[in-house]
Amino acid sequence: MAQTSTPSDMTDENKPIIEIRNFDFAYGDAQALFDINMDIREKEVTSFIGPSGCGKSTFLRCFNRMNDLIDIANIKGGEIKISDINIYDKEVDVIELRKHVGMVFQKSNPFPKSIYDNIAYGLRIQGIKQKSVLDGVVEECLRGAALWDEVKDRLNESALGMSGGQQQRLCIARALAVKPKILLMDEPCSALDPIATAKVEELIHQLKKQYTIIIVTHSMQQAARVSDKTAFFYLGKLIEFGKTDDIFMNPTDPQTEAYISGRFG
């Protein structure tokens, strides 16, 4: 694998918040990820690209153990450490892990509740009931998701009445409410129009000042626009990982070159 970002050349970069070593993953007998090694650094945007079925979404879902919900999911080897803790250790509390590693999905999935309650929900189940605290967090998160000015006068209206782009940004705001360190985004713009996509991309650019973001995208233009690092996956293998400038302007591996230039398959 061509890897331009290795532990030995970390000196000029942020420290890794996620370290993946020799990671193998299977659905039953079908191995989906093969010997993945990667460092993901703090407050950077990392894009995962590759054709359908290459394992990029499976890999993303390993970071907050979403794959635990699938019976046949099986870690065959290796480890994923987040802030120096192996997240597959038996002692790790998965609920606690998912507070630190938020997730936004392809299709926006607001709760059938008010805009306000969508944000406050996560805090309420943590036992926070004080209205002044909830008000503060709701405003902070909606501002953080660049949504406050659009919805501040209708916080009690149903989130289902918002546009698709607004719903997706609400889901991002909801993910921010529990103060995660890492945000996982699985094709967050695939159902959005170009203007809503641009707004989410602007938001990603703003959020990386505070959060580490990993995004799975089928749009290579989006990966090129939003990310600091890009990883190209094919058939469950990490083919190339490095600075987005290098991956798109001068990739090392011929398979990466073929994929990003549309000469694949």
Binding site: I195, A198, K199, E201, E202, H205, Q221, A224, R225, T244, D245, F248, M249
Partner: protein, 212 residues
């Protein structure tokens, strides 16, 4: 909506203006060195050429990067292609300034001072005026000014032909070192080429503004 990467286009425009100003300054210094027999000015012009070369490379890199990573369309694409073409013209203008400086240095080393200045002063005023106008029409998006530059080039061509005629006659009549006469012909040609590059810049601004 302004995107977070649009400032990169602004930076590209700034680099283009900077290289244009440096190219114009290099040419002006080289010609002033010729007109006032001033070696120091020619040395300054030669030094500027290195900065111009470095800027051309930076503009090329930034342009290729923007095309690759930012998916530009319409006027943004035109700006990038104009930046690549214009920076090449300006780098060539810088090379001509370098050549004028070197030839002036040869003349001064050989003769001590420049004896026959023919129409270099009038010609250079026109050529550098065209270059300045080319920068301004890019900055102010002034189509009329861009079109007027193309017309001015004809007068520079006429003066160059006149210089060639006068210097050829002087060469035939003798008196001044033939090498000096030939180098003065080539200095005149370099100024004529600088005006051509200014004309190219004007045409590139017209393309940027109109798409044609």
């Amino acid at each position: 909506m302004n995107r977070y990467f649009h400032h990169e286009l602004h930076d590209l425009r700034s680099m283009l203006i900077l290289i244009a100003e440096k190219a114009n300054e290099a040419g002006r210094l080289a010609v002033e060195g010729f007109l006032s027999s001033d070696l120091e000015k020619t040395q300054h012009a030669v030094k500027l050429d290195d900065e111009i070369d470095a800027l051309e490379i930076a503009i090329d890199r930034a342009s290729v990067r923007y095309i690759t990573l930012r998916s530009p369309v319409s006027s943004d694409v035109r700006l990038i292609f104009v930046a690549i073409k214009a920076s090449h013209d300006l780098e060539r203008a810088g090379d001509e300034a370098h050549s004028i400086a070197k030839r002036t240095r040869n003349i001064l080393t050989r003769d001590g001072s420049v004896q026959n200045k023919v129409e270099i002063e009038a010609m250079s005023k026109l050529a550098f005026g065209m270059m300045k106008d080319a920068i301004n029409c890019f900055l102010e998006e002034d189509l009329d000014l861009a079109e007027s530059i193309i017309e001015q080039d004809k007068e520079v061509d006429r003066l160059n032909k006149e210089n060639f005629k006068n210097l050829s006659m002087a060469l035939r009549d003798g008196g001044i070192d033939p090498a000096t006469q030939i180098e003065t012909i080539l200095i005149s040609k370099s100024i004529e080429r600088i005006a051509d590059h200014a004309k190219n810049l004007a045409e590139e601004v017209i393309y940027l503004l109109t798409g044609e």
